[in-house]
Subunit: 141 residues, 4 copies
């Protein structure tokens, strides 16, 4: 789990941490049940305050992405116990609003629907294969 933080970004650090963990899970770099570093370890490694990491973990817990394991820090939530609020295959209202804004920006940049869908397909597929590291045939397991 290597975090790349931009301290001059407009995005709060705790959100950057949260976002990168979310993307790590989506890309398969972080697998269900996998143990996350402790708050202090991650804070030290990233050079930020423990409060900041704490905030990111709390947010992820509230969103149902991770679970606090009591004995051994936090873990990525197992698939079966999916996120509670997501009834079935839909994005949150906020995420949908974000998507609409991105589509608007794409239109202003001169992109047509074809262009945009191609871009989305590329980005969606980009990190689908690399679940582990060296041997990328996990989908056969």
């Amino acid at each position: 789990m290597i975090l790349k933080l931009d301290f001059s970004s407009e995005i709060p650090i705790y959100l950057q941490i949260r976002n990168q963990i979310v993307m790590g899970v989506a890309d398969g770099k972080l697998k269900p049940g996998e143990k996350l570093p402790t708050i202090r370890a991650l804070a030290d490694e990233a050079g930020v305050n423990t409060m900041t990491v704490n905030k990111a973990y709390a947010l992820l817990k509230q969103e149902g992405v991770i679970v606090a394991d009591r004995r051994s820090g936090a873990r990525i939530r197992q698939q079966e116990q999916q996120r509670p609020e997501s009834g079935a295959l839909s994005l949150s209202e906020k995420t949908l609003a974000d998507l609409r804004l991105i589509i608007a920006e794409a239109k202003l940049a001169g992109m047509g629907q074809e262009d945009f869908l191609t871009l989305c397909a590329e980005e969606f597929a980009k990190h689908n294969q690399n679940g582990s590291d060296s041997h990328s045939e996990d989908q056969l397991n």
Copy 2:
């Protein structure tokens, strides 16, 4: 030009204004060359301070979405004088990062690539027809 502002949102008001104008242009509700309300008028209508609208307009101007006509108020930029920084058919690095995050959220919500592309296509097409004139195609339904 009717703005819907959420004063309790985490998104700054000036950004909400900016976003809605961007989406208005993308949807064709605001046409190139069309005159925007004056800062004061919009501020009054929306119940916010002129400085807030001022900031939104300044941002849009900097992004090349609108131009300040100096003699009258602000206008939507004509397409011939396109946005300077956007070379051609690509999203800004920030927008692309936002898109990647949304894709990650979609994956966590259990959406597959098909689901996501369908959603994107729907949203992209949603406001494509209206904007050509005052009487849209909806009345045919």
Copy 3:
């Protein structure tokens, strides 16, 4: 005398007019004694208010670039009756400050002294020859 005005520029229109006349004189496109269009004619041609052109002419008069000819509108000042305030070969304090700022910008852009002087020489020489239109040998007259 064809003016190119940018109504969305941050520079006031009257200043744009003044600047272009100054550059016209410096480039030799406007010669000493040459008659300038009337305020109304220039205003009509440029599509601006007569007040605006009036302001530009007043500024140029005050700076000693043009003289009001009483009978026939304004004319470019003759060389012998040079600008009063410029004692000898120096820029105004304001212009010097502008130059210093430009030099600072050039340094930030990574230019060295050689680069900058080369650029200045190019720009200085650029419009030196074309005093009239077709026959560029005027310096022999």
Copy 4:
């Protein structure tokens, strides 16, 4: 960081602040990575409102001259992360236009190309030495 502001100048205060910081960086008085005073501190010291300093800092940030470190205050940008928009060794279109106007003014003031280049060289070199350390070469005179 001592600012000299002219409150009766036509140049907005926030621009005066921005310009002096740009010139400070160019002259080496402000070094890459150096911490700038906080918005409040600078506002107090200069006797202006925090919003005014805020605007200057926002402009400098947008131009890539400084970065907001999020944890501490603002810092002069390191050279490795150079200004994004400036490809290499060229001035912005606006700065170039300013330079052309200055050259025109110089010609009207009776300066030849030699005179002007000499002046530019002097101004360019003026602050080149100091900035390497606290004790400059002047003490050798």
